[in-house]
Symmetry: C2
Subunit: 437 residues, 2 copies
């Protein structure tokens, strides 16, 4: 197989970033990258791609990211630019059907993250009298950094599938928070699939093909497109801006901070609330659809915006400091004798030092979903965050924010869900194997 035609137009060059572990650039072995499309001749019945490959100093936004590993990809993977997220309900009562679907999803997800069609038959391999095994809209596109991350909602552990005894203590529905305006049609779900990619067509294609495989077994409960990442999950990435125009996630837990990840993100085998062996190396995902009232925000004076956030707008520096990554000094006073970072500023309330050391790994996306029917854009932040135990991390953090954060005047949480995202898969393993074991 030839890899000559692989597009490399999305090379990250300007930033001069060092390579980040886990990014595979270039195909070293046969079938390592099995791209869709015209430029590379690929047997439609090529085996599902594994993930060997050589790493090079350049990060290619087109490249494939290994599907298997200790942890699922899509958590500490440097946050891709675009997102398609879907929550599904299981509509069968047959646990065996569900297990077969999880197996089929594993095969398809592994193929698609390598840049191949969803199934060996591909676009036309099944012949004229069969429906194609891949829906085709990503044919010819490279892997585009696609990751597909699965999560199990609390409702999956009811009495339908024999999983009640496997339910982790940490996998509780979130409590109600002050100000919540949750829409049930944008909340919950038995399962979730998070598809992140640098080309949204690739992310949408992945979700669509997985949903298709689940026809009659699962049904879409809600889905969310994210057009731009609002978090960095690697020190090699620049901090993006959210829809309030501020840099977001400067102090995020990053892929390179292994001790912090172990402490705050990855479930350990002996975590009391973690769920035991099947969740060791996994993480809990909290998803919140946060509508941002951008029209109101946009009429707010700069100083007030900065006081609410606790950072300056242009540089993203903590108030009282000069540079984005300067340490936050909550005691430092301004010329007026008040603390430079106000007592109810968002960065103060959400900071680990104010929450007994709690941190989370944020992985959110900006969204714009049409209009709200009363003359405004329906825009905001689709908040995604990974953590070791939502009850000990997200819940106290959100309680503090819901109580005092001035930002609440400008936002509205209207969707909410929590999922247990199991660890990564070893060779030959499939999603659900450890869960159902």
């Amino acid at each position: 197989m030839s890899t000559e035609g692989l597009s490399r137009r999305h090379l990250i060059g300007a930033s001069g970033s060092a390579a980040v572990a886990g990014i595979v650039v270039g195909a070293a072995g046969t079938g390592a990258l099995a791209p869709r499309g015209n430029t590379v001749t690929r047997g439609d019945d090529a085996p599902a791609a594994g993930a060997p490959g050589s790493t090079t100093p350049a990060l290619a936004l087109d490249a494939a990211i290994p599907f298997r590993g200790v942890h699922q990809a899509g958590i500490v993977t440097p946050a891709q630019d675009r997102l398609h997220f879907v929550a599904l309900d299981v509509v069968t009562k047959d646990a065996a059907q569900l297990r077969e679907l999880l197996k089929a999803w594993t095969r398809a997800a592994e193929r698609m993250t390598a840049g191949a069609e969803a199934a060996p038959g591909g676009l036309v391999g099944g012949g004229p009298n069969r429906a194609p095994e891949d829906t085709g809209e990503a044919y010819g596109l490279p892997a585009s950094g696609l990751t597909i991350t699965i999560g199990y909602g609390p409702s999956l552990f009811d009495d339908r599938f024999g999983l009640a005894s496997r339910k982790p203590v940490a996998l509780e529905e979130l409590p109600a928070f002050a100000g919540d305006q949750l829409d049930p049609k944008r909340s919950g779900g038995d399962l979730c699939l998070q598809a992140c990619a640098n080309d949204p067509q690739v992310a949408v294609h992945a979700v669509r093909n997985l949903v298709r495989l689940g026809f009659g077994i699962v049904a879409v409960r809600w889905s969310q497109l994210g057009f731009g990442r609002t978090s960095s999950t690697s020190t090699a990435q620049a901090t993006p801006r959210n829809m309030f125009g501020f840099k977001d996630g400067t102090n995020n837990v990053k892929a390179e901070q292994l001790e912090d990840l172990a402490q705050h993100v990855w479930v350990a085998k002996d975590d009391e609330t973690g769920g035991g062996a099947w969740m060791a190396g996994g993480s809990y995902l909290v998803a919140r659809r946060i509508r941002m009232h951008i029209e109101v925000w946009d009429r707010t004076p700069l100083q007030e915006q900065e006081d609410i956030i606790g950072r300056d707008k242009k540089e993203g520096a903590p108030l009282g400091q000069a540079k984005e990554f300067d340490t936050l000094d909550f005691a430092k006073k301004g010329p007026d004798g008040e603390t430079a970072i106000p007592v109810n500023a968002h960065v103060r309330l959400a900071h680990a030092s104010q929450l007994g050391g709690v941190r989370i790994l944020r992985r959110g996306y900006n969204f714009t979903d049409g209009s709200d029917g009363v003359g405004h854009l329906d825009a905001g932040l689709f908040f995604l965050a990974y953590m070791r135990d939502p009850g000990r991390q997200f819940v106290p953090m959100q309680r503090a924010l819901a109580k005092a954060d001035v930002l609440n005047e400008y936002i509205e949480h209207n969707g909410s869900a929590v999922f247990a995202c199991p660890p990564g898969l070893a060779d030959g393993e499939y999603w659900g194997q450890a869960l159902f074991a």
Copy 2:
């Protein structure tokens, strides 16, 4: 001013395409590119950027596209990857207010397409006690090929603003077509703004800032995000795929086909239905939100899919031919004695030869807007097409399709609008100037 920091990471290299007229790469003069952000030092009070610049052989997805010219940008401009489209209603009854807004929009649009903030004050220039003059979420991002195209809906020409006598004959609301399932909340509008860019954050930022400038004067009626282009508008672009997995727009009118553009796309001064001088060099835009029932389509056999479209799925070749750009032969018979392209195939019904020579310039985008509440993704094609007279082009074409196209089993038109997009602006001219003259 330095341009050293301009990101060039999105260079189109692999395709080796020739330069397409109208793409400005690199900044030649002071202020030619006035990018937002950190890497280039720019005075926040820099004059609104003009569009001089040198052209180079490489097409940069990051580059700025000239705002002024004979025609509006965003029509034959090589279709950018992402779209944010908004339809607005005018809520003031004061024509002078509307004219002032159109002037302010012109200034802001010209700045943003050059990569600058929406207003000279920019992110922080207005000082701490004023709301920033730019919302900030695109700060630091390059121009990203942004174009902003304005259109006027039929309802703008009622008795509110003294424009009734200016209404072009061609600017009629579209008639009802068989099968239409139009949602008024996704249809119509006094005005539209089409923002196309290669970075969706830049497109969303542009719409958001223009909407903001119109607070109290206009209100958002509906908006639509498009995640991936489904048309090429230049021979230098590869044909993308729609959500049915087929190449779309192979035979589109292209930027390089000047005679075809003159015949089918640009309004001529003496067009009986065109609207006269103020529309000469402009074009009429038809927008249709087409929900695609992808779940049903995905269960349809390959041969049936190809017969419905009239092209093969993999190559996009007309049935009976081998290559995408081979000429369609509607008479050619297959081995079974039937025409290779079935009598009711989409490409046959929509082809100029079947419609008295009618052609249109398509510029549509794939969309995915969450779920439909009954277990499916709400996905489809946001159809945008430019033409000289909808009544003589889109209407007969859509009548033919609505009557016989087998594709109708799989799609649903649920939004519709038509707009008059005036010609491009000369130096110093502003939107609405010729209209209100």
